[in-house]
Amino acid sequence: MSAQAVLFDAPGPRARARHRIFGVVGALVLLALLLLVVRGLANPENNQFTAQKWAPFLDPETWTSYLLPGLLATLEAAGVAVVLSGVLGVLLGLGRLSEARPVRAVCGVLVEFLRSVPVLVMMLFVYYFCIFVLGVLGDTSTFVGVVGGLTLYNGAVIAELIRSGVFALPKGQREAGLAIGLTPRQTLLTILLPQAVTAMLPSLISQLVVILKDTALGYIISFSELLRGGTTFSTVYGNLIPTLIVVAAMFIVINYALSVLARVVEQRLKRAPRTSGPVGGGAAPTVPGLDAATQVGADSGAFR
């Protein structure tokens, strides 16, 4: 069922009138809620709408010394984490598809373990590992903590994406590879893996959004990312709420752009299928033996 219009008939005059009433009531309720929030923010004791609280955002120095360095640190951590988790993900994913049973078992346990431990717990572990075991302090330890935590978790997620991508390919691909005399490893690397990665591209891009959002967890180990930059800045001007709003807007714009990109890639792959595997969304056929969790992962890139 693709179009929502299937759920209701084209409205006649009476239904149209009823929908108008619902629309107006709904809009009024939403407006009332908005008004409550606005009035609460504008309360005389602590008015959040004074020019004094918002003017600092017009000052270039706000951006050059607090918000942009924070954004840069966020992007940097996310970028490094993406590359590293891509490498880790491919290694673990290939390990899970390996011919050797011990390798498969070890990689399987590792992936399941890393997926079930929260990112924050891993960040805290890597951060304190840097401090107490490696003796690294300051900015390096927070950066390594954030990147390490993100890499371990998202590496496992990407490994699962790759595995489910390979499983979703038609059996003939592998058989054809073996039939022309390629070894199993050559088949995997030159035939299956490229197709799997292409088919999983939209999910992989959606995972970027998750990584970018999770860099904000770095706040907790005082990594100087966007949120930390914002709160530091807001202690100067006492404008925490306006700052949080601006920071949220920055995150939303970047992440929204990324999800639009994921959708565009998905559409393009659907239009010109260069892989024989299912691409992206709901079209993926059910593969027996593939657990539902992985399948849904392929469906919406829904590992958070």
Partner: protein
Amino acid sequence: MGAIRTLLETYDVPAAFWMTVKLTVVSAVGALVIGTVVAICRVSPVGVLRAFGTAYVTLIRNTPLTLIVFFCAFGLLNTLGLSLASAGSPTEIVDNNFRFGVIALSVYHASFVAEALRSGINTVPQGQAEAARAIGLGFGASLREVILPQAFRGAIAPLGNTLIALTKNTTVVATIGVAELAYLMRGMIEFNPSLLYAIFLLIAACFVLLTLPTGLLFTSLSRRLAVQR
């Protein structure tokens, strides 16, 4: 093993574990309720509600959970002066932190529940909706009687994923001082840096204990409950 026993004797690990479970369960109920409402809004014939549903999912999904927790703690509590605990009670601060943590988690995961339900609605064949309309059911009745029951059964797997994500994301409310597992972990490491590995394994084991059975349960549920077509 000795190290873990020491930790268990010194710290109240079960209390933190129980706090994580409480956060998960209460927020899961909240997220399910809000998420269902948002999902219904997104497929409704009323334009305003559809726009609201879409805006909710787009905005919330793209905001880091840490920020939403901040908005709840500093925005709702400190700035709007909205308190969810009885003033003057000895546990006022703790209660407020817990309750706003639950609100933040519910609001954030509701957007994922809404998306899961929408994918569930997509698994219901068109003919079902057409049949419902043909026998004269309106939007509400066809959703209630025909579409949603099947959609929920089709959405079990993504809903399970959301629940697992929620379990893990409860760690984020450690930011506002709710004494759950990540909060405890921090305290333990700061005071016993030499037990770093034992502490990590202990906390990680707690989460594996929570998420692994949930995953298995939902995988088997999704097989058993999926509508055979």
